[in-house]
């Protein structure tokens, strides 16, 4: 209860040196605001990406080739995933939990229309791609089964590609040339409104056979065209793990892998993708926050410095207080509470600034992410600033308690 009584004393002392106190607090203010804003951006970005991933369906599995880990081609994809694998995986007898299997072969390539051209990521795939990847079509339609089997020269493009080439998105029926060969635009994808992860705005989709046979020079493995990845859709969210096992079993068998061999492919599910994204953003946030925390440390040292000055300046006052009956603990608490008030006030202002920044950012139209500052971050910020006050105020306060009242009273 007595502790509360030191607060007016501390506030008086801080008010007596407003300028000095506010400059000292600035270190804590900047530190706390920086940490909170970075945590908020990290959380906002993470929520944004996770939302995007979740909206693309949670039953999808992606099979990718492993990368070479030795020899000349180290780091590039192992080219053992083929159309043969796709056909086998499509057999529901052995893969009861796999609903759809979609091959993809893609690459960056130039698209031309009239005098305009643009580079886009063009993927050869099948009609089921739209379903498995939850694509939304703005104009026309996606590729059809007939177009796949007949290897028609048709293309579905994203909005960025459409506007780059035609200056508009209502372009169904227009012609786009790849390597001089004309392709008819049959559909335009809806704008994802997201410049980052999972956007198809700068993509194009053509029948897989066309990609394999005419557009790209695709290598073969055991007589089959290779693919860059295979998407599969499980029958339900609960059966994703079962589907993964079925796929893994088949592929290991087809690729002739023994019990001790590593797989030459990897299967990722949306759930594992969510985990990975979560841990990546967490690591990034932690890294950036620790850098921001350095400014808190600097701020704390500023507090220690100014408290040492304050103790020296008030030597006579300390002597007086001791003469009037202050215990050592009274002097210690007086200075500790003073530095605590400084840092807590700084922390609160820092919180205010970071909240202001979050509100400001949310008002900017089209800004990709929100700054999300949670209660936990607030408690953390308050705790850290209080901790700063205690840690960096302790040494100056101890110095104050060690003053001999006789000497202190004579100090000029």
């Amino acid at each position: 209860m007595k502790l509360v009584r030191y607060f007016p004393v501390a506030v008086d002392s801080i008010r007596a040196n407003k300028m000095r106190a506010s400059l000292t607090m600035l270190g804590i203010i900047i530190g706390v605001a920086a940490v909170l804003i970075i945590l908020g951006v990290g959380r906002g970005a993470s929520e944004d990406i996770l939302g995007e991933v979740a909206s693309q369906g949670t039953t999808r599995l992606t099979i990718s080739p492993s990368t070479e880990n030795e020899g000349e081609g180290a780091g590039s994809a192992v080219e053992t995933l083929t159309m043969g694998d796709v056909r086998t995986l499509s057999d529901p007898a052995f893969h009861p939990d796999v609903r759809q299997v979609v091959p993809q072969y893609g690459g960056n390539i130039q698209l031309v229309a009239g005098n305009e051209n643009t580079r886009a990521r063009v993927t050869g795939t099948t009609a089921a791609y739209a379903d498995v990847h939850k694509l939304e079509i703005a104009e026309g339609r996606f590729l059809t089964e007939d177009e796949i089997t007949q290897m028609s020269s048709v293309i579905v493009i994203g909005t960025t590609v459409a506007t780059d080439l035609f200056g508009r998105t209502q372009v169904v029926g227009e012609s786009v040339r790849i390597d001089g060969e004309p392709f008819t635009v049959v559909g335009v994808l809806a704008e994802s409104g997201n410049a980052g992860f999972g956007s198809n705005d700068d993509s194009g989709f053509i029948p897989i056979g066309v990609a394999h046979g005419r557009v790209f020079s695709v290598p073969r493995y055991r007589g089959e065209y290779v693919v860059t990845s295979i998407s599969a859709d499980a029958v339900s969210e609960e059966r994703v793990d079962a589907a993964e096992q079925q796929i893994e079993q088949t592929l290991r068998l087809r690729h002739g892998l023994g019990a001790d061999d590593d797989s030459d492919f990897s299967i990722s599910t949306q759930a594992s993708l969510l985990d990975t994204i979560g841990s990546v953003t967490n690591t990034l946030t932690l890294l950036l926050s620790s850098i921001a925390a350095i400014s808190l440390l600097v701020g704390g040292i500023g507090i220690m410095n100014i408290m040492l000055v304050s103790v020296t300046e008030r030597t006579k006052e300390i002597g007086l207080r001791k003469a009037l009956g202050a215990h050592t603990s009274d002097v210690l608490l007086q200075f500790l509470v003073e530095s605590l008030v400084l840092t807590l006030l700084g922390g609160l202002i820092g919180i205010g600034i970071s909240y202001g920044a979050a509100v400001l950012v949310s008002r900017i139209p089209g800004f990709p992410i929100d700054v999300l500052i949670g209660i936990d971050a607030l408690i953390l910020a308050l705790g850290v600033s209080a901790g700063c006050g205690l840690v960096f105020g302790l040494y100056p306060a101890m110095r104050a308690t060690r003053l001999d009242p006789i000497v202190a009273l004579r100090y000029e």
């Binding site: 007595k2 009584r5 008086d12 007596a16 006579k316 006052e317 002597g319 007086l320 207080r321 001791k322 003469a323 009037l324 009956g325 202050a326 215990h327 050592t328 009274d330 009242p405 006789i406 009273l409």
Partner: protein
């Protein structure tokens, strides 16, 4: 030996300071007793040991040897915490430079000892205002030090010394920073407090200040060289403290002390 009216009792107090390699004997076997209600001046040149004596009386310092008792309680063996509480309860300090907190109004200065005595804030404020009225500063309670004259500042400091109703008011050169007129304000206040029964110990090198006391203790080289109860002064003020000693022949005061000092110098 200390009866119930003895406030301070010092037996054979020795204080040795270690100054680097050399030892300095600040007090050399001082024995002294101060009764309740006395008005004592301790005089001496600088280096005479009077400041050390004041620090020991004020419980700020402890003797190297000897026994110091206040109200019959021995101060040796007390912890820093107990000494602080004893100071807070028994001693009111008045300093030459007032030692007021900058920027705090008078009543806040005065309530400071009550803060350390754990008196509730509202009660403390009331007592601070009461005590300010006692020193004649009721209308200056909200004034900050820079808005007060030197004499008023010292009176605020005296109110601060009195607020916790101490047994002893210990003043160190209370008029040292004041001019003659404002110094007189302070001395008149001491007179009034003495008449009200407060025990006062004033440390000074100012003869005029010392003359106002009823008892003058002169220090030199760490020892008491004279201790005179001035019967004339006691008589002149009505002997209110009952300490009259008619046997002591009254000398004109300034002469008395100077003569004593001269005699001592001659002897030394």
């Amino acid at each position: 030996m200390a009866d119930s009216s003895t406030l301070i009792d010092m037996q054979n107090i020795t204080k040795v300071y270690q100054m680097g390699e050399t030892k300095v004997l600040a007090l050399n076997g001082v024995s002294l007793s101060i009764e309740e209600g006395e008005y004592v001046a301790i005089v001496g040149t600088s280096g005479s040991g009077k400041s050390t004596l004041m620090n020991i009386i004020g419980l700020l310092d402890s003797p190297t040897e000897g026994v110091f008792q206040i109200r019959g309680q021995r101060a040796d063996g007390l912890s820093g915490r107990q000494l602080a509480d004893l100071r807070n309860r028994e001693i009111g300090f008045v300093f030459q430079q007032f030692n007021l907190l900058a920027r705090a109004p008078a009543w806040r200065q005065v309530e400071l000892p009550l803060f350390y005595a754990n008196v509730a804030r509202s009660a403390a404020r009331g007592r601070a205002l009461e005590t300010l009225a006692q020193v004649g500063l009721a209308d200056r309670a909200d004034h900050k030090p820079e808005e007060l004259s030197g004499g008023q500042q010292q009176r605020v400091a005296i109110a601060r010394a009195l607020v916790n109703r101490p047994s002893l008011l210990l003043a160190d050169e209370p008029t040292g920073a004041l001019d003659t007129r404002t110094g007189e304000e302070v001395m008149a206040l001491f007179e009034k407090l003495h008449a009200e029964g407060l025990t006062l110990v004033v440390i000074t090198h100012d003869q005029e200040v010392a003359e106002r006391a009823r008892r003058v203790i002169t220090m030199r080289d760490g020892a008491i060289i004279s201790d005179s109860r001035d019967a004339a002064a006691v008589a002149a003020h009505g002997g209110s403290n009952g300490l009259s000693e008619p046997a002591l022949a009254p000398l004109p005061r300034p002469v008395a002390i100077e003569q004593i000092q001269e005699r001592v110098y001659e002897a030394g």
